[in-house]
């Protein structure tokens, strides 16, 4: 009889390992206690916010109001996705609001004003975003200018550019009935497609999970329990199908939200499964260590700032479709802060090195739920600003506390 071979990663008897279903659940609670909160605070916060608003005005939870909410989430959510990239490096971009304003003005001026084809106009907006982002990164790399300062001056300069482009009229209306405006206001996925998409995450989870487990067993590594995997996938699928079914009671699932979620999925893959994403986390955690490991730190900064400004420009383009106009107000007011707040509320640390693309999605749903709920209650924007500011403060406090707890539990 031969001894069962000890798995490579189970040599140390001091470590308790999660086994089976119960273990998976226990491990989750232990992680939370150690300050590795993940998306738990957001989900809890969201549940509270939704309960309060539903109690105050039942319309809040009506399918069509939620569909509206998703439309509103998409534009600022795309901007927040870029913010996640720069926050990951411990940097900030305060000019995303103005950049989105320039993006929307670009569509108005080029497409409606000059008759340039729409894709070209959007391309120019994105290209300008890439240029601006590269400029911020270069200022940081070559001159050591803190991004906080360079993007603050960018905020003003880009706002000036936006006002200059729109000229004396101040706003350009986009043609109602055009595919572009329909995309921003009306277009819904067919019901069958939305249901099919709701099934995809669960299927992918099970398929890739089983494959990874098999590979790990073959390589003599411990593998997660199939029960836990199936449970997670089942819960995810059930939740998603329920959400889609509920939305289909109203107008359905907006294509624009689909675009946003698609971008989130792509960014999540890039951040967690590629060398680039690994380098981003490393630079955010310890830039000098990353440099000594041979990572081209400057290039990482350039890529992050370029992505951030490009997402901001794209968000602006989408908001022009949503509003059917490119105006001087686009991107001003609370857009900037909402995008940053969304990334932080979703769980991206201001201190760098931690965050995920899903933070943008979760965070923007929280922010827009508050805005939407307060509008339903007929509260003025003055109160809305105060409450959003308060929520941002709470999110930052949670971030700081979780960081302290992580440090004392050795999870950095």
């Amino acid at each position: 009889m031969t001894e069962p071979k000890i798995q490579l990663d189970r040599g140390d008897s001091r470590v308790t390992h999660a086994t089976g279903l119960g273990g998976t659940i226990r491990a989750f609670f232990n992680r939370v206690k150690a300050g590795d909160l993940g998306s738990l605070p957001v989900v809890v916060g969201l549940a509270i916010i939704w309960s309060v608003f539903t109690a105050l005005n039942p319309i809040f939870l009506s399918p069509n109001n939620l569909v509206n909410l998703l439309f509103d989430c998409s534009t600022v959510g795309i901007i927040a996705l870029g913010i996640v990239c720069v926050l990951m490096l411990g940097e900030i971009d305060l000019s995303v609001g103005s950049m989105s304003g320039v993006g929307s003005a670009m569509v108005g001026v080029l497409w409606v004003g000059q008759g340039v084809p729409l894709p070209v106009a959007i391309g120019v907006a994105l290209g300008l975003g890439a240029l601006i982002g590269a400029a911020y990164a270069t200022l940081r790399n070559r001159l050591g200018m803190p991004s906080f300062v360079s993007t603050l001056s960018g905020l003003l300069a880009l706002l000036g550019l936006q006002l200059y482009m729109l000229g004396s009229t101040g706003s350009i209306n986009l043609p109602y009935g055009s595919g572009f405006v329909n995309f921003g206001q009306l277009l819904m996925m067919p019901a069958w497609l939305s249901y099919a998409l709701a099934l995809v995450p669960g299927v992918v989870m099970v398929a890739s999970g089983l494959r990874t487990n098999a590979r790990r067993r073959a390589a003599n590594l411990s593998a997660g329990s199939s029960g836990g995997l199936l449970l997670k996938a089942a819960i995810t699928t059930a939740v998603l199908v329920a959400v889609v079914a509920y939305l289909n009671l109203g107008r359905g699932l907006p294509w624009m939200f689909g675009l946003f979620v698609g971008l989130v999925v792509v960014m999540d893959y890039a951040l967690t499964r590629t060398q680039w994403g690994r380098s981003m986390k490393a630079v955010g955690g310890n830039a000098e260590a990353a440099r000594r490991a041979g990572i081209n730190v400057r290039r990482i900064y350039i890529s992050a700032f370029m992505l951030c400004s490009m997402f901001a420009a794209l968000g602006g383009v989408m908001s022009s479709a949503r509003l059917a106009s490119a105006s001087q107000q686009a991107g001003t007011g609370d857009v900037n802060l909402n995008a940053i707040a969304a990334a932080v509320i979703g769980g991206t640390s201001l201190f760098g090195g931690r965050g995920s693309a899903w933070a943008a999605l979760l965070g923007i749903i929280v922010i827009q739920s508050i805005a939407n709920g307060l509008t339903l209650l007929n509260l003025s924007s003055s109160l809305r600003y105060m409450i959003t500011g308060g929520v941002l403060a709470i999110a930052v406090i949670v971030d700081s506390l979780a960081r302290q707890s992580r440090q004392s539990h050795g999870r950095a």
Binding site: D9, G285, A289
Partner: protein, 272 residues
């Protein structure tokens, strides 16, 4: 690893050669006119007091600092290490005194940082297996490679840093106080490792304050003092000579004790 020179240097031949390396930090001259040769299959110990410039020299060779003057020749060709990645590409791997790990990443991610397998679709399983293999070679006591570095002890972190330097099959390994935080078994394992690496014909530069460790593995002991070369010794040099070269003083507690011991021995011989 784009333009790594091909072919191994036969053992015994000069692998790396420094001539007149100086490094100034503002008004401080951390290094002045340093000469150093490392042969293939040779362990060079770099010793000196705190602030003697050992780590600075290692960082110059690792591409972290640029020398103010002097030339570096690697495998017979003059080279400039403009960045750490240039040094890594040449095959110079370094374990830094401050380890230079990313605390927010886990052990596997740190070992493979900048060298990930399959950049567009990270191969986590293969990386984890390789990480465990490297760690087992070092007799590492690491509970889990999927925990962030922040949760590891000082010695465990040091082991991770050493494992990382072995990953890419380097030509020269530089270890800056690699055993400072290690336990008995792990220190022995690192010294074993240094010997194994030498057997493979690699060059090793090891910095240590522990003369026992230095004598155990070094082929040559190079002493730095106040940023200058202060003698080259063989491992059988007496403690007195070494301490004298390191501190620059011939009269100190160590040499007096050595003197007493020798005097005692002489007396004992006389008595016989």
């Amino acid at each position: 690893m784009a333009h790594r020179p091909t072919g191994r240097t036969p053992r015994g031949e000069v692998l790396l050669s420094l001539r007149g390396i100086s490094k100034n930090f503002g008004a401080v001259s951390a290094l002045t006119g340093i000469d150093l040769d490392v042969h293939a299959g040779e362990v060079v110990a770099l010793v000196g007091d705190n602030g003697a410039g050992k780590s600075t020299l290692v960082k110059v060779l690792a591409g972290v600092h640029q020398p103010t003057s002097g030339t570096i020749t690697f495998q017979g060709r003059p080279v400039t290490m403009a960045s750490p990645s240039a040094a890594l590409d040449l095959g110079i791997a370094t374990v830094f005194q401050d380890l230079a790990l990313c605390e927010n990443l886990d052990v596997v991610a740190n070992i493979f940082l900048g060298q990930e397998l399959n950049p567009l679709r990270l191969d986590e399983v293969a990386m984890e297996v390789r990480a465990w293999t490297l760690l087992h070679e070092l007799a590492a006591r690491i509970p889990s490679v999927r925990e962030p570095i922040a949760s590891l002890s000082g010695g465990q972190r040091q082991t991770v840093a050493i494992a990382r330097s072995l990953l890419m099959d380097p030509r020269i390994i530089m270890l800056d106080e690699p055993t400072a935080a290690l336990g008995v078994a792990q220190t022995a394992e690192v010294l074993n490792l240094v010997e194994r690496v030498r057997e493979k014909g690699l060059g090793v530069i090891m910095i240590s304050h522990n003369m026992e460790d230095v004598r155990a593995v070094a082929d040559r002991i190079v002493v730095l003092r106040l940023g200058r070369n202060n003698g080259v010794f063989t491992p059988d040099a007496s403690n007195q000579e070494l301490v004298g070269a390191i501190t620059g003083a011939t009269d100190n507690a160590v040499s007096r004790r050595e003197g007493r011991i020798q005097a005692g021995r002489a007396q004992a011989e006389d008595a016989l």
